[in-house]
């Protein structure tokens, strides 16, 4: 009996399998390639994000953490470090003194990211191998003028004396560890005992840092979790730096979207190729049947071939996928400041499953119909082929796409948005195709011969064209969606961080200095925010019920101190989401709360808050809830009051301003003139966010290239499906004396017209999908994009016109005699 292996081998030699296997290999390749690429990029970004923690895993507590945790980590071959932060007084020999935020670090710190220092205050930042040695300290550049010391001088902390050996510049985890607001002083962890300043009850934060092999780390994490007691917490990147966590999760949404789009494209390409394969095999099956093959034998034969094909394509596809991701990383290595992480086996498993699903749901339905083909075709070629797509086949394909996309994105809203866009394109495509059929005839009759030929071509392959408009439309739609989403992602990020965004905070401005500080900023032409008053106060009770008293930082519903401010106007980038902002000059005892804070407290408009400012109690009513942009790097407050309510209390002021890197020395002068104020350098954190954004943009561009290739594959597969009948028509036309120019021209018009309709459809569908995506999945504001309309339509005409004519160029190059003899 003829076997599947034999048939495959014969078909392969005969060149019949090329298209199907290529489509499958490309499908698996694109899917596993994107999957591996995004997996590696994600693990790289994750590693990058660990830089912000200075480690892979961080535990913190307000008391000394158990030493046996470090031993347990050591047993698992993990790297370890300890950090202790606390505020204390630093005194210089010459008499200068200042409050400093001390950070004591053990050898090995930081485990991830870089610690930098400079050899003079505000000097060139250099990378340090480790923190200060025993007996040495590094001072924040601002401390040098405050204490009036230079490198080599001695300072005293508690009972110990230290030599200043460098200026501390940046720590990888400084964004996640603001503790007090004094300028930084770095010392060695081993020196703490000698200072004697850390006593039971001191306001301190201990951290244990771990890093190393991912598997060992996961095991360690699950060993550690159950041992944590109240107050001890594991830091994640989201807590460390909310802006970066959000940027990463948006990037992840985008990459997953791109991955699922590749699945749709791959499925369509496989279905088209299988359909063509089945059409070309109809005659062979008729011959085999006339020679006595049963339907079951045909099914077995083609089923077996398909399975074998699947195995070969999966192996080839996985290899191609590996090549694709390797090539991307090779080509774009310079643009990626991070080392790509490992991809693991999952992307290839994903490729294999995708291959199986594609075979079962896209390739098998048309091949299954082969077994039903009539043997009478050997006598009469006009016997109707059973190639009409049944409703069931379409449903199977659609269900497969839905499940694959759900599996990829693990996100129902994302899947729904993309699928509804695809459905709309499909439905509109069919409507337009019908309209095309009805009007094409009339238009064609009155046009010149080249147009008549082209429009007749469109009309003749009515159903095929309807399908192609839909497929082309989908491919362009996917491209447009990527362009739109990518553009809005990047522009939103950039909007969040404009070039002159505030990059320094100034706090503790004394009321009598406020005017002078503002004047200094103006004199130096530094763009700044208005001065906000800051009053320390405690939130004690809600509606007369006292909040719990605890020092657990993870517990938000507790009596604790906050910075209050006052304002008559709603601050920039704040929007009221519930209640109403007060009228200017209001003296009512009311307060406006930040939305998430209100949620955590469980407070709504109309509730009463009991406060304590200094030693004076104050009862206020919540009259509004505000949403605000935490990433804006402007002064933001949880609690804002009408000025008349807070004015009686003593306040200091704060602001934020933009200072260029080249202008840093200004800080020396500023601190000398106003010794009480504290400057927080946020520019370092901003630089870190920018670096993440630039990496993500590079990733997005890479994925765009992959999708573009997959889209082109679908276009070519679609055109190839009509090449046989086009060859025949062209041969007849040329035999009748039509010049090649005429046939090429009519092909161009035909495909460009298809492209026009496809582009129009795609633009509408893309706009809709992006609307749903932005508003529902990515939590962004929808912005209409009129420029995408001409772009989509022009892209449709150019890409489809060009690729269409290119893919069937053999229609005019093969000698007519040869074509006619073959048929």
């Amino acid at each position: 009996m003829i076997t599947a292996t034999k048939m495959l081998a014969r078909d392969w030699r005969g060149g019949e399998l090329g298209i199907l296997i290529m489509a499958l290999v490309l499908a698996v390749g694109v899917v596993s390639g994107i999957s591996a690429f995004t997996a590696r990029l994600q693990s790289a970004l994750e590693q990058e994000s660990h830089r912000f923690l200075g480690a892979d895993l961080v535990v913190r507590w307000s008391r000394a953490l158990p030493g046996q945790w470090l031993d347990a980590a050591a047993q698992r071959q993990l790297n370890r470090a300890q950090v202790l932060t606390f505020p204390t007084m630093v005194i210089a020999d010459a008499g200068g003194m200042s409050l400093a935020s001390v950070k004591a670090v053990s050898t090995g710190y930081p485990l991830r990211g870089e610690l930098t220092y400079s050899q003079e205050p505000f000097g060139e930042a250099l990378t340090a191998q480790s923190g200060p040695a025993v007996g040495e300290v590094w001072l924040d550049s601002r401390l040098f003028p405050l204490l009036d010391v230079s490198i080599g001088d001695a300072v005293t902390i508690g009972e110990a004396r230290f030599t200043v050996t460098a200026a501390a510049r940046t720590e990888p985890d400084q964004a996640s560890s603001f503790m007090g607001y004094g300028p930084r002083l770095l010392m060695n962890f081993a020196d703490i005992a000698a200072t004697g300043v850390v006593q039971p009850g001191s306001r301190v934060e201990y951290r244990q840092l771990y890093a190393g092999d991912a598997t060992a780390l996961t095991a360690f994490n699950s060993w550690l979790q159950p041992q944590l007691i109240e107050g001890q917490s594991i830091l994640t990147i989201d807590e460390g730096q909310p802006g970066i966590g959000e940027a990463l999760s948006r990037a992840e949404s985008f990459l997953l979207l791109a991955g699922s789009l590749a699945v749709v494209l791959a499925g369509v390409a496989v279905a088209l190729a299988a359909r063509r394969f089945s059409e070309r095999h109809t005659d062979y099956v008729a011959i085999m049947k006339s020679l006595g093959a049963t339907s079951a034998a045909i099914s077995r034969l083609y089923g077996g071939s398909l399975l074998l094909l699947g195995l070969i394509a999966t192996a080839g596809g996985c290899f191609l996928g590996w090549l694709i991701q390797a090539a991307f990383f090779a080509v774009f290595a310079d643009q990626l400041p991070v080392q790509p992480g490992p991809a693991g086996l999952r992307p290839y498993a994903v490729g294999a499953v995708t291959s199986l699903v594609c075979l079962l749901c896209f390739a098998w339905p048309p091949l299954r119909r082969l077994s039903r083909c009539s043997p009478l075709r050997v006598l009469r070629r006009d016997t109707p082929e059973e190639t009409t797509r049944t409703l069931i086949d379409t449903l199977i394909g659609f269900a497969a796409v839905t499940l694959l996309m759900l599996w990829y994105s693990q996100d129902a809203v994302l899947t729904l948005a993309v699928l509804s866009g695809l459905l709309l394109t499909g439905a509109l495509g069919m409507v337009i195709a019908v309209a095309l059929l009805r009007t094409g005839r009339a238009v064609g009759m009155s046009a010149g011969s080249i147009w008549r030929l082209a429009l007749a071509g469109l009309q003749r392959r009515g159903t095929a064209n309807a399908l192609q408009v839909v497929i082309f439309g989908m491919a362009i739609m996917l491209l447009l969606m990527l362009v739109l989403v990518r553009t809005s992602l990047i522009s939103q990020w950039q909007m969040q961080l404009p070039v002159d965004a505030p990059n320094h905070f100034m706090i503790n401005i004394a009321p009598e200095d406020a005017a002078a500080v503002e004047q200094t900023l103006r004199d130096n032409a530094l763009p700044s925010e208005p001065l906000f008053p800051m009053i320390r106060g405690r939130v004690m009770s809600i509606n007369g019920v006292a909040l719990p008293t605890t020092d657990d930082p993870a517990q938000d519903r507790r009596q604790r101190e906050w910075n209050f401010t006052w304002s008559d106007e709603l601050p920039t980038e704040n929007t009221v989401s519930a209640g109403q902002w007060w009228e200017a000059g209001s003296a009512a005892a009311e307060v406006s709360l930040e939305e998430e804070y209100a949620q955590r407290l469980g407070v709504d408009v109309g509730d009463q808050l009991g406060l304590l400012i200094g030693s004076e109690p104050l009862e206020v009513t919540v009259t509004s809830i505000r949403q605000l942009q935490w990433q804006s790097l402007r002064p933001n407050f949880y609690l804002i009051f009408p000025p008349k309510v807070l004015e009686p209390y003593p306040a200091t002021f704060m602001t934020s301003f933009h200072l260029d890197k080249s202008n840093k020395v200004f800080l020396n002068e500023l601190i000398r003139s106003f010794p009480t104020l504290t400057v927080i350098e946020m520019d370092i954190v901003i630089e870190q966010i920018r670096s993440i954004v630039s990496q993500v943009s590079a990733a997005v561009e890479l994925v765009l290239v992959v999708i573009l290739a997959a889209g082109a594959l679908v276009l070519v597969a679609g055109v190839r499906a009509s090449v046989d009948s086009r060859m025949y028509e062209s041969a007849i036309l040329r035999a009748l004396g039509a010049p090649r120019r005429l046939i090429l021209g009519s092909l161009l018009i035909e495909f460009a017209t298809l492209g026009l309709f496809a582009g129009l459809l795609a633009t509408m569908a893309a706009e809709l999908s992006v609307f749903v995506l932005q508003t529902q999945a990515m939590e962004m504001a929808y912005v209409p994009t009129p420029w995408v309309w001409p772009l989509g339509i022009a892209a449709g005409m150019l890409i489809i016109g060009g690729l269409g004519v290119f893919s069937c160029r053999e229609v005019v190059s093969a000698p007519p005699v040869e074509v006619l003899r073959e048929l």
Binding site: I2, R10, D283, M288, S290, L291, G292, P375, L379
Partner: protein, 212 residues
Amino acid sequence: MAGTELEILKGITLEIKSGESVAIVGASGSGKSTLLGLLAGLDEASAGSVVIHDTNITDLDEDGRALFRSQHIGFVFQSFQLLPALTALENVMLPLELAGKAGAEAAASDYLERVGLGQRLHHYPKQMSGGEQQRVAIARAFAAQPDILFADEPTGNLDTTTGRTIVDLLFELNRQAGTTLVLVTHDLSLAQRCQRCVQLESGALLSEASAG
């Protein structure tokens, strides 16, 4: 015309004896191919029956007829109907493999030898002339040792000289094997080489003449 039933063959009664050679002649559109399709079990009749070797093949379903064809029936077609992806040898082996017969390769190369293509076993149909392709088709038809051979305009796509050689080969092999031959043609000189000749006109059997 849509909605109107078209009667292609009308009241045909035809008996063919084992080992006999019969030509079915008639103009284009007279129903020759339809009749052949029904006789060979490639098509289903809306009324009437076809009985071969005491088996009423009109009672069989598509797969039953396929099995029956693999055991009893061979074909030679006007357009050769070789599988382009298979070599000459593989094309001839195909019906033997489908019928599950042992020694397919030896039998196939033997028959290709007998039609004069012993040197071209591994050539593809594309690399052969029309006459050579039809020889492969004839070798394929006889290799399965069918009881009945149906030939549909076997010379229709060939020039006169080649056509004559092919017909000689067809009748010679048929004589050696003692196969029943049913030949559809509009070529009267070809029809005359059969023992009987039946003429179809507008789907009806006109006359029956015994030939030499």
